[in-house]
Symmetry: D2
Subunit: 418 residues, 4 copies
């Protein structure tokens, strides 16, 4: 029977390999691409995920560990002030050096270090190490998702509309999705937050009681065609449908539709990781800000769910799979099933109307690692579920994703509640 | 026995008179002063509160009402898109015309109109009218508070540090305030939101159930001396104490203390509506952003209360008075009493850790008047209680005030929870 | 026969009185108005011109001079770094205090000081004092012109379009102006710069030799009707007509015509110091940036003159009058005369294609007073002549006015050359 | 004897090859690097210079020319509005596609096209073609210089301080340079502008008369040690030394020395294309803005020359060589010679005090090619000479370089005049 460490090492290596695998379709020139502050370059993701293992495991726990380059501590720090002043986020695309080859060597160096660390015997900090390797794996999976969202954004800035990969054209997407329906839930005095002994992020804890009134949750996500009807009804020109800050964003950013929609002379198109493709009526509307989701819901006399409602509903449904790879970097139409709540984890993240705040009794871990989640608990909204570019193995009903309400470059969509 | 309308008219006129009374210490030149987008000039407050009665009462309900100037509809609209495109907020200080005398004539015209409206017999829209006059009075009281916060900010931009009024020097402020203590509350399945038949704003409704864990609430507000200890301990230089967005604000805005603190060669001073005065150790720290409140709480191993906790505690305490005038435009030290929760309504608003979101089942009123509160329910935090410049008659346990977490020009302070 | 000092004192007092006289049509509320960084409030002009006499005459030369308020040294300093750090320009409109009455008292205090200084006997610094009083008078006249340009801009920000004064409706403006013609000049080795012993600013010196090729200068300014033809021909939509920086300004500022033009449902209107009036075809186009002037000239196959050409031509024409008051704050149409060069000084400043740089041998005076002109000699263009709001007594052929090429709030127009 | 076309083709091909040769030290990742709006990526320079030949020669003159990709017309247009709306300058670094290989193929395609065009017989537009090929070669040489200035800037943004190439350590730089001396020139009625039949840019024409007073010009450029003395004397803290706009730039940009100077714990260093190296006292100060040059000159009681003075002096000195390659991408110390005016072309461009304006009688060519120079004639200053990264073959006494006075990323230094 393999030891905990062996199993973990295997998981670790599989995760590390997958990060390289998803980069394979890129050209060398793409690795540095950063079209906005928030869209980190692929090379930076490869380096930063390594930095995480180096900073929180190799430097504190591996005796005689020698860093490849002391400046990497600064260059590949994302936002951990406890580790020093990070290199400015908006300039990550300016790091042509270290080159890709040097970054790959850095990754190999880190992999070797973790291998050594996990194989060393009778280590007194064994539990801490295991816990942090698990966290590092989960962290890298989050960056695998960000890899997709960021490179999509960065490629979209190029008028050549480059495609990341070819589309698999079989696709169940041509089917007619289930009609929109609302599934009733009873509510009551419930519990929210991660349960059991599996991994969870600190922001999912502690599990705590909550009073939830009865509610109804949509059986599937809002589709492109449904969202088009909102636009056709003047959705982007009617301030009364919007939150005040949302309306300011609409007018200042001159929004008239979702992020990647293009109405060309060839008809309605959408920029995707397969390049510019025809927009599909039945596919879920994606790359929607929280403000747009909220306005859409108001327009059709519904509302967004709270995160407690969402979690309560999801806990009663089937769970996400355990795969460590994505199926397709573009969301598919809902199946035609008419039972249950569909598209919880595999299409688009679902904006909730809950602000991202600490759960009652939430504690921040000591040290720089405590900066992981807690310090972001203001001005953001919680999204729940997962998307077509999430790693299924890291999703669960209690997972809290969070972004600012104007953000649109994530694969985010709309699930209605009433 | 006076009719409802007579009583209401009396209230209306008293409120209108008080708006003029608080302006009396000003010079004509001060009436146009606007030192920031958010700090409206006194003259604009006088005109806008009149516009509210004109727009929502006289124009719809008073037959043959004739407006003094059609452009006022635009000039003195604050943010009601349903009434048309408002004059830009940042330029209110540029309206040297209409002159003060013209605005006073506008006020008299509106007063006359409301008098006529309330005295007209057997009006079929009687209930709607009464409801809106009440709302207009409450609205004007909110602007009376804003008058103080805004003129304080605008005067503070002048190196001459002009004083709005003389300080009443008797002051109980020299006393030693109560020692900081935490009052325990049991929590459980409670109700939040306005109760009973009295007036409340739409955002206080509907009253709804909530699960609250046991908690402790500080018996008084944090003092200047206590806050100084935070600064002395490097509070403004340690990112680990701050929310990420808070730390960005601190560094970009170069904050090193509360808004109006000045450390001069004559010692620690504070700009107030009485000009620059000596800072008092025992007085509550005031003009604190939500970020600062949150960082301070973390520093002393406490936290900010949620709005539900605050309301639960306040419901068990004595209520604010019914006065329609303020006592002093500067917060006093807490009394030396050692029982109960002090300084709930009369010193500084208290930041909570609750984001300003709709209560379950919240409904927005139809028409432009529905823009009153609902559209602001994103990115802001709830403050509870009241301040020395609030009109006591409009405060109550369920009152929800809300500002952006970096805002500091309100009379906002810190009450700790655990 | 009156002494030099008596004559000077009389001139001084007349100038001081005229500053007050031009303010008389204002409401108290207008005195603080500042609609842009560059448009100082009337009260500030009144105070700053007094500050100039206080700083450069009373403080250094009048024994026992006592300032009214030490902070005025900072508050009313415009840009003299040698005197200390000036109060920020953009915030002058926030100085509701000192009040108008206090500023008038400040002016009276300064007047009294200068009276004393000029009457004191046998002063050893007599020449320096006389020279500086003359400079102070010329300085105040410049601010009288700025008073008109600034209050026009600030009033224009008010949707009520307030008028500063009533228009004198007789006006020769209804006449047909002279047809556009070009007057030939021979050029050759000429001299540029002030000549003779009269007052001039430092930037007009030293007089120096220059080679000028033969040129032709337009007999009058470009009219509104002529400029409208440029607009009608797509002038604001054709980048090939513009300097690159000009085109950037047009697109970023969304210009489609001169600053104060409004095309209303009542026809073509123009905001003036008489409020919104009908635009007159024959009047000179005014409130034109250097970029617009240059583009217009290119469009009609002409060019702007150089400052040397302009000065050479003006030296051969009749000089401006010696009045110390303006006639009308709005430029009139050219007379129908067909001889000579018209509208040199009394309509609109005329943009030249000369960058504002030092004359060969130019010297800056020592001390703060040397900051008067020299430090502005970069990035600006020279304008020559004078406008309807200039004080005639301070104009002359060698006078160099200067503004940034995008500036439009001065009374600036177009004279063509070839 | 080779035909004009054969000689031109050879020149063309040599120029094209040199563009590739200077890129050879780069990593693939460097080709897309753009650390500021103004610093175009190497790959973009390679593509844009090809675009120039395609747009102005192949498309109009080569029958049946087929473009590789129609979108390149937009992507690689720099600023020619006559050709259509260019891709935004600040985003050139986002064009990861076309890849380097694709751009090299584009270059080969263009080379082949020009070869065909020049070899086609009896072409009726022969003269126009020859003229434009010459312009295209000169244009590409300008971009070869920009390649060096831009990649230096972009590499400097990387904390790793990458070096473009190894330094050749022999260097005559250790010698003692000539003492600073002023060479007298007589002036008088002179001529400025290109003379003779050789190539020149349109902005050097027409040659025209000018009156120049006697002047003295420094025999060499200001050194690092001399500039350090200016800093040590408070040069960056004394507003009286600066033009007003210069002082604004100093304070807003927080300048305290030349662009690439670093004072490290290992002493005074300088970032160069050889990485971070020790700063050499005797080397000319480089990467200086026009404002700094002007302030330095004022500080040492001198001034900057006018462009007429510079050209007059240079016309009497030895001319630059005819090489088409640079010697070293870092300026060397002046030789110890004591005769004549040194460092005219081979060290640093020299700021003049002349604004960049059209010469009398200047004409812009019709069509998009007329946008080459004329439209930039505002707000910039003229620099004269050449630098260590200029292609010697394209320098001459009449060459006018121009940049905005705050620009520092060019190899620009200081030559004093009196």
């Amino acid at each position: 029977m393999p030891s905990v460490e062996d199993t973990l090492l295997e998981q670790f290596l599989a995760t590390r390999r997958y990060s390289l695998q998803i980069c394979r379709p890129l050209e060398v020139e793409d690795y540095n691409l950063q079209a906005a502050d928030f869209a980190s370059p692929p090379k930076w993701h490869l380096a930063h995920t390594s930095w995480f293992f180096e900073t929180f495991l190799l430097k504190p726990f591996l005796p005689d560990y020698i860093a490849i380059n002391d400046l990497y501590e600064t260059l590949f720090n994302s936002y951990y002030n406890g580790v020093g002043k990070p290199f400015q986020r908006a300039s990550r695309g300016l790091l042509s050096r270290p080159t890709l080859d040097e970054v790959l060597a850095y990754r190999a160096h880190i992999d070797e270090g973790i291998r050594t660390l996990l194989r060393s015997q009778a280590h007194s900090e064994r539990d801490a190490i295991v816990e942090r390797v698990v966290l590092g794996i989960e962290h890298e999976r989050q960056h695998q998702e960000l890899f997709f969202t960021d490179i999509k954004y960065s490629l979209s800035a190029n008028p050549l509309a480059p495609s990341y990969s070819q589309r698999n054209t079989k696709g169940s997407s041509s089917e007619t999705p289930a009609a929109l329906a609302f599934v009733p839930f009873e509510g009551g005095l419930t519990e929210t937050g991660n349960e059991g002994s599996g991994f969870s992020f600190d922001n999912e804890l502690p599990r705590h009681r909550n009073w939830v009134e009865p509610f109804n949750l949509a059986n599937r996500l809002v589709t492109n065609a449904e969202y088009q009807a909102f636009i056709d009804d003047g959705g982007y020109e009617r301030p009364e449908l919007w939150l005040a800050d949302g309306w300011t964003t609409v007018t200042e950013s001159d929004w008239s539709g979702p992020l990647y929609w293009h109405n060309t002379k060839d008809g309605p198109m959408e920029f995707t990781l397969h390049g510019l493709i025809e927009r599909q009526d039945s596919a879920p509307v994606c790359h929607i800000s929280g403000y747009e989701a909220e306005a859409y819901a108001r327009w059709c006399d519904a509302r967004l769910p709270t995160e407690h409602e969402w979690e309560l509903a999801a806990s009663a449904c089937s769970l996400p799979g355990s795969g460590i790879a994505i199926s397709s970097p573009h969301p598919e139409s809902a199946p035609s099933e008419t039972k249950g709540v569909l598209q919880l984890y595999d299409s688009c993240w679902q904006w909730t109307r809950s602000a991202y705040t600490p759960y009652p009794g939430f504690k921040i871990s000591p040290g720089a690692i405590g900066e992981y989640n807690g310090k972001f608990m203001s001005n953001q909204w919680v999204l729940r579920g997962g998307s077509c570019v999430s790693i299924p193995a890291q999703l669960r009903p209690s997972y809290r994703n969070f972004f600012y309400p104007p953000d649109r470059w994530q694969f985010s969509g709309i699930r209605l509640a009433r």
